[in-house]
């Protein structure tokens, strides 16, 4: 029987051990920081306590949603994909062994859901060899998201600066974009990024090194 996701908690793979690891970070700030710790809520959720899971959803829904928005730049689709990620997490909870942080595990599911969707979308739209997805190519057709999340003039409301930054991040390879978003925006530590992306810590640092350099080059005129 296959696992719902290739998740760190189910993996016996250790880090490559090339260096000592940072201790796990505390849960990121989110909507429901107060209340029982994640471990307790996960334990209750695994017993079928939907109220406990609801607290976890409230705690991380904003982070998960933002992570997806920053990759696909479409709020309505991101809302639906965030739903899918949490639904997958709920289904996979019985197999979560809490050897990694809940939110690291959740981010990994979110990452998988987002990229699986992007690939599917790309195949369906039949885009060619070298094209990249632009924000205006993605149409909000999600059946469950509230209809007015994504307005036609959404981009007009964004600052010009933000559009510049999003465009620069879009030009990074997916590998580089992932580490930049997880490190700079989500504030994840190296080990957490390694767990989410299923790569070594060395790879995380190497990708960060070059991703920052590329981004600096693209945005050099914005820097003091």
């Amino acid at each position: 029987m296959n696992n719902p996701d290739p998740i760190p908690s189910n993996s016996t793979i250790e880090n490559d051990g090339r260096r000592s690891q940072n201790p796990p970070a505390a849960s990121p700030d989110a909507d429901a920081d107060e209340g029982p710790p994640d471990e307790e809520l996960v334990r209750l959720s695994q017993q079928g306590d939907m109220a406990a899971f609801d607290v976890l959803v409230t705690r991380y829904r904003g982070k998960v949603y933002a992570m997806i928005v920053n990759i696909i730049h479409n709020q309505a689709e991101a809302w639906d994909l965030a739903q899918d990620a949490f639904l997958k997490a709920w289904k996979a909870l019985p197999k979560f062994e809490a050897r990694s942080n809940f939110y690291t595990w959740l981010y990994r599911i979110t990452h998988n859901v987002t990229y699986d969707w992007l690939r599917k979308k790309k195949i369906q739209s039949g885009t060619e060899f070298d094209e990249t997805i632009k924000s205006d190519q993605v149409v909000a057709t999600a059946p469950t998201a509230p209809k007015d999340i994504s307005q036609p003039d959404e981009d007009l409301e964004k600052s010009e600066l933000r559009i510049r930054i999003e465009s620069a991040i879009d030009q990074l390879s997916p590998d580089h974009r992932d580490v930049i978003l997880l490190k700079e925006i989500q504030g994840c530590r190296y080990q957490e990024i390694a767990d989410i992306l299923n790569i070594s810590i060395g790879t995380v640092m190497s990708r960060l090194f070059y991703a920052r350099k590329k981004l600096q080059t693209m945005l050099e005129d914005l820097q003091p």
Binding site: T12, I133, T144, I185, S206, L215
Partner: protein, 212 residues
């Protein structure tokens, strides 16, 4: 600059290493100090402009809708556990019928498992630790063949490829990636370019045969 230096610089920029820890690099590349300052500015800029997740639109509706979907799918962990228990019972109905024999059944299962563990699984060998199939219609089954000293992953549920479709392979030697590059060329053993591989925005590989 070698990969180890790149990693140290990254750690230094992120504040995990002190100036003293990278003094050799700073002596050799004094301009790194400016690079660090620019990285920090870039980080501030990104965090200021991009949302890290404080708000989700229609937050209450989000939870409501999710709860509804969970209930519809009837996939609670408890329900899953109950199903697994039911499955176990269905596998051993006669043992379970005689409740007093349940511990014996459990011991027998453990004994068989331990025997299989020592008989069939080598100390070393390759192994699959976990699998995931994005398409729920597919199922991945793994096992280790002691006789072949090979690990097998069977992907079931794939559509059959029409017999008339021409499936061909290539003979390629390794490519060398440029740092972070998303375009590669695979070469034949006699140095002829044979395949172009491009990784797009969605991490989707695109392959194109090169004819020469």
């Amino acid at each position: 600059m070698n990969p180890q230096d790149e990693e140290r610089i990254t750690q230094w920029i992120d504040g995990d290493l002190s100036d003293a820890d990278v003094q050799d690099l700073l002596d050799a590349h004094p301009e790194l100090r400016e690079a660090k300052s620019q990285s920090e500015s870039l980080g501030h800029l990104l965090r200021k402009e991009l949302d890290s997740g404080e708000k989700i639109p229609y937050a209450d509706f989000f939870n409501h809708q999710l709860n509804k979907r969970i209930e519809e799918e009837d996939e609670s962990p408890a329900a899953t556990a109950a199903r697994q228990e039911a499955l176990a019972e269905s596998m051993f109905p006669r043992f379970m019928f005689f409740k007093k024999l349940a511990p014996i059944a459990a011991l027998a299962v453990i004994a068989v498992f331990v025997t299989l563990l020592f008989v069939n699984v080598p100390v070393g060998g390759s192994k699959i630790v976990s699998t995931y199939t994005p398409n729920p219609a597919l199922e991945a089954k793994t096992f280790y063949s002691d006789e072949a000293d090979a690990t097998v992953l069977l992907i079931e549920g794939l559509a059959e490829i029409p017999a008339q479709q021409n499936i061909t392979g290539v003979q390629a030697v390794g490519y060398t990636p440029g740092e972070g590059a998303s375009h590669f060329t695979l070469y034949s053993p006699n140095n002829k370019p044979i395949l172009a591989l491009a990784i797009d925005h969605a991490a989707q590989p695109r392959l194109r045969e090169l004819k020469f």
